[in-house]
Point group: C2
Chain length 809, copies 2
Amino acid sequence: MDTSLEPAYPEVAPGARPDAAPLANPGIGASVRRIEDEALLTGTARFLDDLQVDPLLHACFVRSPHAHARIRAIDATAARAMPGVVAVYAAQDLYGEITEWRMPLGFPLANLPADTTPFVLATHEVAFVGEAIAIVVASTRHAAEDAAAAVAVDYEVLPAVADCRAALEPAAPPVRLGLASNALQEYTLSYGDCDAVFADAHTVLQEDFHVHRGCGHPMEGRGVLARPDPASGELTVWSSTQLAHELHYTIAMMLGHPEDLLRVVTPDVGGGFGVKFMIYPEEIAVPAAARKLGRPVKWVEDRREHFVSAIQERDQYWSMAVAVDERGCVLGLRGRMVHDHGAYTPQGANVPYNSASSMTGPYVVPAYRLDVAVAYTNKVPVATVRGAGYPQAAFVMERLLDRISATLGIDRAECRRRNMIPAAKIPYTKPLKSRAGVPLTIDSGDFPALQARALQAIDYDGFDARRQASRARGLYRGIAVANSVKPTGRGPFESARVRVQPSGQISVYTGALAMGQGIKTTLAQICAGHFGVAAEAVQVIAGDTAFIGYGMGGFASRQAIMAGSAVDQASARLRRRILDAAAVLLDTLPDELTLAHGEVVSRSGTGPSVALARLAMLLKGVPGYALPVPGDPGLDETVHFHCDAQAYAGASHACEVEVDALTGAVSIVRYVAVHDSGRIINPVLAAGQVHGGVVHGIGNALFEWMGYDDAGQPLSTTFAEYLLPTAPEVPDVEVIFQPSMTPLNPLGVKGVGECATIPVAAAVIGAVEHALAGQGVRLSEFPLTPMRLLECLDAADGPDDIAPAGGRA
Amino acid sequence: MDTSLEPAYPEVAPGARPDAAPLANPGIGASVRRIEDEALLTGTARFLDDLQVDPLLHACFVRSPHAHARIRAIDATAARAMPGVVAVYAAQDLYGEITEWRMPLGFPLANLPADTTPFVLATHEVAFVGEAIAIVVASTRHAAEDAAAAVAVDYEVLPAVADCRAALEPAAPPVRLGLASNALQEYTLSYGDCDAVFADAHTVLQEDFHVHRGCGHPMEGRGVLARPDPASGELTVWSSTQLAHELHYTIAMMLGHPEDLLRVVTPDVGGGFGVKFMIYPEEIAVPAAARKLGRPVKWVEDRREHFVSAIQERDQYWSMAVAVDERGCVLGLRGRMVHDHGAYTPQGANVPYNSASSMTGPYVVPAYRLDVAVAYTNKVPVATVRGAGYPQAAFVMERLLDRISATLGIDRAECRRRNMIPAAKIPYTKPLKSRAGVPLTIDSGDFPALQARALQAIDYDGFDARRQASRARGLYRGIAVANSVKPTGRGPFESARVRVQPSGQISVYTGALAMGQGIKTTLAQICAGHFGVAAEAVQVIAGDTAFIGYGMGGFASRQAIMAGSAVDQASARLRRRILDAAAVLLDTLPDELTLAHGEVVSRSGTGPSVALARLAMLLKGVPGYALPVPGDPGLDETVHFHCDAQAYAGASHACEVEVDALTGAVSIVRYVAVHDSGRIINPVLAAGQVHGGVVHGIGNALFEWMGYDDAGQPLSTTFAEYLLPTAPEVPDVEVIFQPSMTPLNPLGVKGVGECATIPVAAAVIGAVEHALAGQGVRLSEFPLTPMRLLECLDAADGPDDIAPAGGRA
């Protein structure tokens, strides 16, 4: 990455659909600086642990050390007597506070039994190491931790099962008492006549793949601060979450707390990555304890807790066959995928469905059949992490395309091009439906063009010279390209309220949620363009239920689309109202007026003007006097932008690596990410998300390994064991936007957040395999740690039949 | 008043316009019990002084002991050193906190210079006894008071002027340094050819009248609690005010505080009566001190402070002549009125204008000319108290009608009837405009019918027998009737937001303000009728800026009209949305459905149903899933009801008194109040307001005397000196509603709050004069305390020419 002080301006190629109507909003398209950064850079940002409420109590949780056990008894007598301890609450101590004891299913519309979610605190059974059993509240965190260790839980240890394939064996012990089967779901996604195409195919290839478990690991873990006001009954809950309004709903429902007396606020959030797209038991237990005590209580997750209680992802075993014709065109895919869901289904079972339904990516696959088995295991529950099942599927698909290329002797890029959905066929509806039952329609894009741009940018054709230079230095060099597409901008809606205050301040309130990606800047920019002010003149309040009545939050690469469109429409409405009102006051026509620098001025530059502040003061109304212009008072417009269709964002990543066969070290020497993200609101911010997504994908591909032993004991609970990529492991990433405008929203924007993560493992591991092509190494899994790569090299059965010569080979 | 536990149900006569369309809302018209009362009766209501914020500091103010003085120096050294004292801030100590130092003019559209309002804290001059100079903050109120006494202020005492007539003399000292004249305003209201009608009149009568100064005296005085959150910058201000949103605006503006970081909340408010229809210096100084200290600070006005710093009213001197024809019909009125405005104009100069423009009341006056002089004096500033200038004018007009009756030998009621605007001439536009420049149009009503009903109810014709019975007991008995009309429902708008929560709770948020009159019950009742629930199932949050973005508040008998209509319309819209959404879910037509007991049910009683709670849960949206019905999410509707025309509410009060000529005691033995308040939403609540208004008027008429000596020193600063009516002084009040529906709002309602106060002094003093008619007593002023009545009797010049025989005499 460019480390100079000036941001590296990414390339924004002309849109693939240059006929798209230009936007009137001059705020869109400029790389304005982030309005978030001054606070972040000067240390005045307020993450959850920075919040000070006086006097404050601190909480920690008693968590299960066993992967599966019956709780016979909990004795907190000693803990309660320890210095500084205010309370120790096990489940039975909070029965009066919590009216709904079982966590709700995050997606209540999913076809799952409701009783597969955990309780707020475990009552009679724990099903994974880390499950919360009791909350300890003390005057300091240290006192709380010491007391938590002194809570005596009498466990009857039960058999556990850690591997999802083993969990599905008939003799496997139940992951939870009373489960008739550890199979949460078994279903088949299919279309076309798979058996027929396999029977008639020119070539059939078969391979097994495994994607290992990993975590989200935002820089800031989870955290909750609850402040009750015993006199008024008001309860304010701050949480480092991606879902402020859903948390408001859930706390009100589970604590039986009046909605009017509850406010949920998200402070600065240090990353989410899907981990915080969940309502967690701790977010219920902390407010319950605080309300019961009548005092503010704060809990901040430590890193070890994140490893054992924040949701995880990725565990999947695929056994796939592909049928192709003589040109390498895929005729059909079939196989089985086993997905590890951990001990509970707090959010439903959307991840395996996403993997299963997205496997074909940007490619044409005439026939498809995937048997899906979703298994409970005695591990941390699984829900969405950035990409939400797509990276696994892309990895499997792209590996299969490499197998086809190798078998039929077709260049890997050419093989992909032959299989791609051509631009002329878009919009393209896949013969599958989303888990919500909606057809999967790729609304816009040009996948072959994205790949061509990536190959050009990485100089695919000039690879051989670089390979030879590396070999001269004793290193193996490889190159690969991988493609993906993801629907972005999940609905059903997002809210935006734009208000001009009597001070002249322009405020934007939204149900969207800022978690580090710069969404406040993006929204301020969209709003500012309508009012003729700089983005930093707009105040954005996101994820605070006091300011807007409904909202969704941040997930599924949706915010620029959904919140951006809502802000755009609310701003446009408010601008129109301002011009209309000013025209009455100034005795002119609205069309003669425009907005500049916080004033309504005449377009001609010669007429009278009125400051926004004065207009807002007049329109708020003076008690007893008529408003100076007809219509509703105030300058305040709310829009709920709704759209259930999703904008498909394509990506083509090209990657070049050097591999040291002696150490197993993989060095990514070149990385090009070409993205169709629709219209780009702020190129630097969008590129920042691509950078982050690529780094996330590199971690997934090469380092991040959340291990469990057979008894369900976690093997990696520190960053010494679970390796995240750091600066030396991260290459410069060349980001190129080659947009096609989606017709699904007024801005023509698509999501970015997850899209850059999806093809990374496929590209990186493809390049490693290409580098080692002469070594007979076949790579069918990730992460590919140095140790694992050395194992693969050791196990390789001799020179491979793929000649490692040139990019095109 | 009826003191039984069951409320006395007032009579509601059929409307004078029975053709008015009936309302579909079954909640309207029933005397449901007040939803406010459980908390009030069980001691769990929270008035300002009940609010507990921990740890809390207490404030009191250093106030001027001089009516006029220059401040040479303020030395707080000793005070700051006293135990428990946290801070003493004079003006210069808060310059950094307060960006606008002068209080804004409450009615900025009034044609007044802006520099006639006080500063937050006096800087170099004080202009009335009680003006705040410094704020003292300490750990207890006692410590703060002790320290306030220790603040050494070096005053140069300046000449003061306490009488408004004296203040207008050329040689009068200026009320404030630099004032070129103590005349704040001098203007003439006039129409018709007054000089001509007086020249040609059958009879011309002339008299001087005086209405003395009084206060508002709500049971709860003023009070402010400000809680800053130094970390977030949020500032929450609780105030016992009638103007939450205007206070929000003013604090933000004067403290330069970001609007988004400010919340104004009104707790339970123990009465307002116009005294709290003001933004006071203390409401700025307390938040400023709290923010500077970073700690919560509370100030609660004590009763003595209320006497010397809460606004006052009523001081007026009228010198009037009336020209009549031989039938006693008024041909013209002319004269001069001098109004005492106190030392500043915090709210503009609306009271004298109200008096001047309302003098003709419900009567036809063909020609009118009133010279108005508004004078500054070194007394507490004047603004609106219940009735806002109308009681003074009604007193003068009704006294003049009595003089006409006496002079021409016409029965007093008949004389009034002859002069009344006949029902057939309504709507009737007076040849005057409001202070906002709007024509004064009486929209509806039948004044002769109201008086006829009052005379019938009090048995005017049977008075003579009662008079003789009283005389047999040594008491003089008199009877009188007085009429008034007041425009009610001042605009420009009021806001209402109605929301159904996922718990099923129906919440109403409004900019209206509850200050004891039962407006929460009224609004709940209006809302409940649309949803098929009881009023107590509706939660009303009034006067909290966190819940609704714009609002006006409680003043000018407006809330049932403005907020009631807003709630009615918002509820109707939400009901329509609910039925439409439920029809989609239940696969039926909206017209097949209705709402009952928190559920949408089929009108036939046989179809499927859906609970409001479930509907609200579904419509809040589930992240990632389409809303189950088309359209915006949520169940939340906001309406700003706006209306600049006012609904005219008429009243006719008949009163009978017994007077003890030895002691000067006046006993009100019968009291009938007939009111046209439009459609009655809750008869018991409306009657309660009439009761309160009559009691307020009785206090004004007979007891309340806010005295000042010539040097501007207040003479009545306790309830031992300033007498309020108590239970023994208050008669049973028979309340009769004889409504005419106003076309100005969808409910047909009119205001009640002030209307019952306006004619009381005229009726009571008219009855006293009637009782003493044989004694040669002419009563031209109020209050008429026993002592003052004895003085009048002593000064009487012998038997009057009015025979005290019978009601009709």
